[in-house]
């Protein structure tokens, strides 16, 4: 019952993490944004049966988490919470694609299962990278970076408000569900009718609250421009970060490290 509330708090926790002060935190948001972008594009660009070649990419989240001191367990939990989406996307692959791709012992592994696992792996990589980006940078700074890159302001402001209000929405929902469950003595499950009116109420309440918050922002001079206190400056560190990681990603994309490593080791064994 309280899950919604706890989750929303947890998302808010990312912003708390972003106020940390490691060298990675201090990096210009644009550098982190662009690197994350290259990472995601590279990971997604593999063909659908890619499995082993994806594994070296885990080095990026692992190194970033280790260097910045972000709580790995927390991030992993976030990834798990959204993972049903990925599973839903890939779950039919094993049924559609039954051609046997390879055998482990006597069990034939179909292409469907391989592509399903590939989807899940990619999902884990990309979502972790995005979460790390926000936890290291803060959502406002990510938005500010987007604007610097020339993304039209209306889109970015939309994104910013979406993020701001998602908390408002989940808070309201939590309070209403709680109030409802206190008075629903007979059954645990909510009736359809109750649910519908709750949903309608939620919308109206959220609109009201969102408006008050917007008003509070206007009272303090919000004019659609996002301003952050951390100054943005591209120094050689940022350049190193982008090109270092970028080069590694492209190397891993075109050079099948696990395969080479495997052949090398089996070669040694022979």
């Amino acid at each position: 019952m309280n899950n919604i509330g706890r989750n929303s708090f947890d998302i808010g926790y990312m912003d708390t993490l972003a106020s940390g002060d490691s060298p990675l935190h201090r990096l210009d948001p644009r550098a982190k944004l662009i690197t994350t972008f290259i990472f995601i594009v590279t990971v997604v660009s593999f063909d659908r049966y890619a499995l082993a070649v994806l594994t070296p990419f885990f080095i990026y989240p692992i190194v970033l988490i280790a260097l910045s001191g972000l709580p790995a367990g927390y991030l992993l939990k976030k990834v798990l919470i959204v993972s049903p989406f990925a599973i839903l996307v890939g779950i039919f692959n094993p049924l559609m694609d039954r051609g046997i791709l390879f055998h482990i012992g006597s069990i034939g592994i179909s292409g469907g299962w391989v592509s399903f696992i590939s989807i899940v792996l990619r999902f884990m990589l990309t979502v972790t990278a995005a979460l790390i980006l926000v936890s290291l940078t803060g959502f406002n700074a990510v938005c500010a970076a987007l604007i610097k890159f020339g993304v039209p302001k209306p889109f970015v402001v939309q994104l910013l408000f979406f993020y701001r209000y998602i908390f408002v929405l989940s808070d309201e929902a939590e309070r209403m569900v709680r109030a409802g469950s206190f008075r629903a003595f007979h059954s645990g499950a909510m009736g359809f009718k109750t649910f519908i009116s709750l949903l309608g109420n939620l919308l109206l309440r959220t609109l009201d609250r969102a408006e008050r918050i917007y008003y509070a922002m206007c009272c303090r001079g919000f004019d659609g421009n996002i301003r952050i206190i951390r100054s943005m400056r591209i120094t050689y560190q940022e350049i190193m970060f982008i090109f270092g990681w970028g080069a590694l990603f492209i190397f891993l994309r075109y050079f099948n490290v696990p395969l080479k490593l495997g052949t090398f080791i089996t070669g040694l064994l022979k």
Binding site: D15, A18, N140, R209, C218, R220, G221, R227, I228, I229
Partner: protein, 245 residues
């Protein structure tokens, strides 16, 4: 020209759903005055406050801040000089950390980075919560949230402070601390409240609203001793007076 003057003349307001908020409200509050706005629930206190920095515009009548009537054109300037402390601090605090929240206003005003930092630290120190700077606002206690809300407004260096129920949901000690703090401010203050003891303590002048009209405007002491007037406005004598008599 002085920014510290608030003048309303013949304000009328009806909400889109037909609820009448104000039916002709007129007053003038001058520099440095501290005014309590009292009245029963739905008397129009919040509606009136929302007019003072242009969130609602009256169906009839005008609001003057300083020497000029409030219009769309000077809205920004007015919002800068009229600092609004909301009834619910959760509406007011929306940034990831207390520091960011207080910095939001000054950044929007275009202050330089170190100037912003100075202003934030000073505002937080004024309300005595400098140690909370790194904390996320939603994890604070009600009293702390209220202090931070006031800091966010102070950071804009307003001339006029408008507060909606500042002492609601505060424990007695936080309430006392807040009142003492507000006493130290030299701003023009307009405080909508049900806390008549605070009104007695903090404001030399009181305006009584009843069903969208002003039923009394004068010295707080006189008004809060006037049992008949209070009863007619669905109010009652503050406890401190009841105990004395």
């Amino acid at each position: 020209m002085s920014h510290h003057i608030v003048e309303a003349s013949d304000l009328h307001y009806t909400y889109p759903d037909g609820t009448v908020g104000l039916r002709g409200v007129t007053f003038r509050i001058s520099h440095g005055e501290s005014v309590a706005l009292v009245g029963e629930n739905g008397a129009g206190k919040s509606t009136l406050l929302l007019h003072l920095n242009g969130y609602l515009s009256p169906r009839q009548g005008t609001v003057k801040i300083g020497d000029y009537p409030l219009t769309k054109k000077n809205l920004d300037a007015v919002r800068r000089s009229v600092g609004m402390v909301f009834q619910n601090p959760d509406d007011q605090l929306f940034m990831p950390t207390v520091f960011d929240d207080v910095a939001f206003g000054p950044l929007n005003l275009g202050l330089a980075k170190d100037e912003v930092e100075r202003v934030v630290v000073r505002s937080l120190e004024t309300v005595g919560v400098a140690h909370l700077a790194k904390r996320p606002p939603y994890k604070l206690s009600q009293g702390e949230k209220r202090s931070v809300s006031i800091a966010t407004v102070l950071a804009m260096s307003p001339d006029i402070l408008v507060m909606d129920e500042p002492t609601s949901s505060l424990d007695p000690r936080s309430r006392r601390r807040l009142i003492e703090l507000l006493k130290t401010f030299r701003h023009t203050k307009i405080v909508a409240t049900h806390d008549l003891d605070m009104a007695l303590d903090l404001c030399e002048r009181t305006i009584v609203l009843h069903q969208g009209r002003i039923t009394a405007d004068g010295q707080t002491k006189k008004i809060l001793y006037d049992e008949e007037l209070l009863r007619a406005s669905s109010l009652e004598k503050p406890l401190s007076i009841q105990l004395k008599t």
